[in-house]
Symmetry: D2
Subunit: 341 residues, 4 copies
């Protein structure tokens, strides 16, 4: 029998994609969709592409928490209390916000301020199936990763596991949907068209999440850029391998490159059996992953400088958010991880 | 009296912009425009926006070298022999190709292959007025910088002078006009739209030029990306300061940031009197420099990691190529550097 | 048992989409993909988004005609002889070219020149399921409509049936993929970005096809425009109703508008049961139909002038070409028309 | 001596362009810039591309009306009372709003509601220099045309003068800046990118202005479309010539086309001496007019249907608004019409 799933905050971009995926999912049943601002309107009127004919309702726990699972697409801070309530009622939750991604409360509060449901901090599983598949399967609360962390962690995890992450610079390029649906000057077509804009330089809140999952105490410089694209995300990761960073920097250029090259690429064979990760030779374009759950990765050795360069692309609203949420739901309910994707 | 200037290779994007600027220049006279493929056609038919009614002619040194100066907009390799011939006839040349930018012939041949006019190597002035204004004034042959080097060198020169360039990663984003006018699959609208594509990873030929001008033996990792934009270029430069790179890396994060912050920004006051460099607080957008000779720079200190992040934007066809060529011509002929710009 | 289907000309945009749809179709089996220029390469290397791992082969009738059906994605003129050969071997064909769309040979030759397989002219069914569902079901040769005609005919058929088509102006806007994959100056990103370009004014070859299917001797003025979009198509159709056109023009403005309004919209209820036509109130956006088989239509009465304005959008490569081809194949083989779409 | 000019409403797109043009104008002096929402901020901070270092001030007639002229860039309705006040103080005004464009008050009120300064209705000159150059020269109040009317009227005026305007359909495509700077859902990048959206179908307020200036009682169907472009506008005008419309429609197709063709093009020689109108053979692209005061026109005869098709492009913020305002100011103060453009 189909598990019934609610999508809370379905009028935003992420909630709409999650709703569309669940609506046409072969097993889950999209039970209800909620939204504050557009309550009363049908979701397919706000987001026709979803073709979900359900009416958006204002969230009411007594009516909308009578489900098996919920995808919560609220802004960080707003999410925690609702998630707490849902968990208390036994609803299994995939939370798209940042509220439960950081296991360390102090780190959370450094970047986000006071936490609204501190007792739950540390109780969620970080919902990146390629890293935490087993824990997700049994989880009641999954903290869905941010879009940038999804791409960056998948790009760098094989190097992290090999202890190679010395110095890391991540230069990310993201389509505008990643900034949400609320109209602002910075998302006005005329502000975005024909330009590239770095933002939140040195202080983007996805940074601690990336550092937590890569582990090893690595500090990353993470700089996102807005590009004139609707959906899609590319992270360009520049890694100075630890052995080089630690005192051998100057000889980096003369290191036998072929060897290093070979080793590095072999690390990515770890993804050979992953259904949603593609390691490719050429540049990993955004169109190749658009509206899919794929993450596409390519690895390069810069022999002159000894650096490793890794690129990864995802659709920020799919693998970066909502199709990954469905991948997590599949795992949580013992289904094939790829169903409905 | 007006100096007469020829533009060779005027049917390409760079040659067309140079022609348009010289055609409406208050002092120079655009004497002739040449092109192989479109010979016989008027330039304003090939590039209406130039509004230059001159007919493109096939280059003939006996007719087109009877000028005071020439802008040569040929591909690298093709440029050297023509430049040699023009110089021999006493024509002053701004060469837009890479043929005379590198002072070290071995470095040139590492990146480009055999040089077609080796006797001239090292005799050109590198045409970045903000660094070499005085030499340009007396020069007979100016090697106009590449578009990426223009932005990257202006972004990093104040740090280089201060001896701060430890480790450097340059992640560049460029509009498609930078790749030239020849139709190819990679410049087809459908290939470029809604995606970002890294290219020539670890082997873009602008790399040695950047390293030469920054000096100090610095090795940069330079990665250009194609973005769905016609004109414009952003370089995002990530610098690990030398003092930090040399043994103090781990303490980087705890370095007093305010102090470092102050020092770094002060270095950019070197540009205070530069007419075409704007140091700004916010992100340096491409629209702000489009079809201008401006380079726009912003500097950030990433206090967590101790890195300095510098962004710079230019219009790749203007300050990155053709308006800079006119700036150089102005200097070469003793005019105000900003005339006609 | 699965029918085996070949896609000929699979390296172009349309052939690639057809291949992808057939590859993941629940019933058809994609037997082989052919292409001249990219023979030997895997389709998913040329078009990664298809994720079709088959190798492109040069077409050889003795090997590739051993199938139940073929989708032929050749240019007009090149298609006819191959289609003739396939038909002779008993292969059922959906031809994406224009070669068999016009039932009148003289009209074909007026617009396209001599026909390469004149004996087959008139023997194909025009593959617009919403108009010719029954004939398609039994057809051996289906001439798949052009992309503009698909949208224009669906937009205007209800008015045509009601005898209302007096004067018709169709102003179409199309994404660049409609112009094919071959790189040209006019498809260079820099030529398309930030502009709209009318082309083939008064002489686009989709015109006679539209007139044939609307019938009644109507003459349409059809003007396509290239817009800076990869996929998608909008037709804006301006109809002066026949009764008004015939002598009552001047009173047009004073005609009771409410009445006309009501009548006109009621005509579009003819689409109520069509699975792939959506008649909507608001503007029928391209994103709503992108990578779907939907055609989305909205109808407006301009009360001041008495005109009827109809908008329709499709994805030019899907309902405009390749998903419609699959819809036709489904019908030809007695399957549910929407399978695999 | 330089006349002093104020720009009221300088924080919007149109006001910013007008300010930039006046700031660098060889004769006018930009005396002050006003804005409500951004008062206190420098204009070059809100719109860096203007490079106007003046601070925006809240409008105060006692301080800002001490000028020779004003450009008023207010929304319609808000403009009239301020214009009335400025006129009363002897300030010469170019009003960018619609408030004084329609000479017939009843028509104004049909489309816009009650007029806020009815005594001035009919006293303004319609500021299209190519039609009203002489009246503009002596005018105290110039109503600057809308962007669509500028392109449409210039496209059609030669046909109107020849009495050829039977039936007229105008299908317009506009960049997003035409919709103003206020952030809304419909101007969000994600709403505009990769789609074309018709809007205000049958009820765009530029319609009566077009009809007024073309005269002869013509009724036009005017439909604007939003395209994913920042600046620029194309009108595609479909004209059924009057002689054909009046009873000869059916023979239209057999009319000697060469003859008609010749005649029609000859009508556009009326623009031969116009400095800012270019009649061209090929499609009149938007890039060719971007950030210029040019209107670019091409004329086609559709011989099959007897229709005349005229395309015109302008930059909606330049010739469509602010550079045209400067052209008008030049004329009003007896200067060369092209100064500073």
């Amino acid at each position: 029998m189909a598990e019934r799933v609610a999508v809370l905050g379905a009028a935003g971009y992420a909630g709409a994609v999650a709703s569309a995926l669940l609506h046409r999912h072969p097993h889950f049943e999209l039970a209800c969709v909620t939204a504050r601002s557009d309550a009363g309107v049908r979701l397919d009127e706000v987001h026709p592409r979803t073709r979900v004919p359900l009416r958006l309702e204002e969230y009411d726990p007594d009516r909308h928490a009578e489900v098996d699972a919920a995808v919560v697409a609220y802004p960080h801070g707003a999410s925690a209390p609702v998630v707490e309530e849902l968990c208390a009622r036994g609803v299994r939750v995939v939370d798209l916000s940042a509220d439960f991604r950081l296991r360390d409360r102090a780190t959370y509060e450094d970047w986000y301020g006071a936490h609204a449901a501190p007792s739950l901090v540390g109780s969620a599983v970080y919902g990146l199936p390629e890293l935490h598949r087993e824990e997700i399967a049994g989880a009641h609360l999954v903290a869905n990763p941010g879009c940038y962390p999804t791409a960056a962690i998948l790009a760098l995890a094989p190097l992290a596991r090999a202890g190679l992450l010395g110095d890391v610079v991540i230069d990310a390029k993201s389509g505008v949907s990643g900034a949400g649906r609320e109209p602002t000057h910075s998302k006005h077509f005329v502000s975005v068209d024909e330009t590239v804009t770095p933002y939140k330089v040195g202080r983007h809140r996805h940074t601690p999440e990336i550092e937590q999952e890569l582990g090893g105490g690595v500090r990353v410089t993470f700089t996102p850029h807005l590009v004139p694209i609707a959906h899609g995300e590319l992270v360009s990761c520049y890694v100075t391998p630890r052995t080089v960073a630690e005192g051998e920097r100057d000889e980096g250029a003369s290191r036998p490159a072929g060897e290093g090259d070979l080793d590095v690429r072999a690390l990515y064979e770890a993804y050979d059996d992953e259904p949603w990760v593609e390691v490719v030779e050429g540049p990993p374009g955004m169109l190749e992953v658009r509206e899919t759950n794929f993450c596409r990765i390519s690895v390069h050795a810069d022999e002159r400088t000894g650096r490793i360069i890794v690129f990864a692309t995802i659709d920020n609203l799919w693998k970066g958010t909502s199709s990954q949420a469905v991948q997590n739901l599949n795992l949580m309910f013992g289904r094939d991880e790829s169903e409905g994707l």
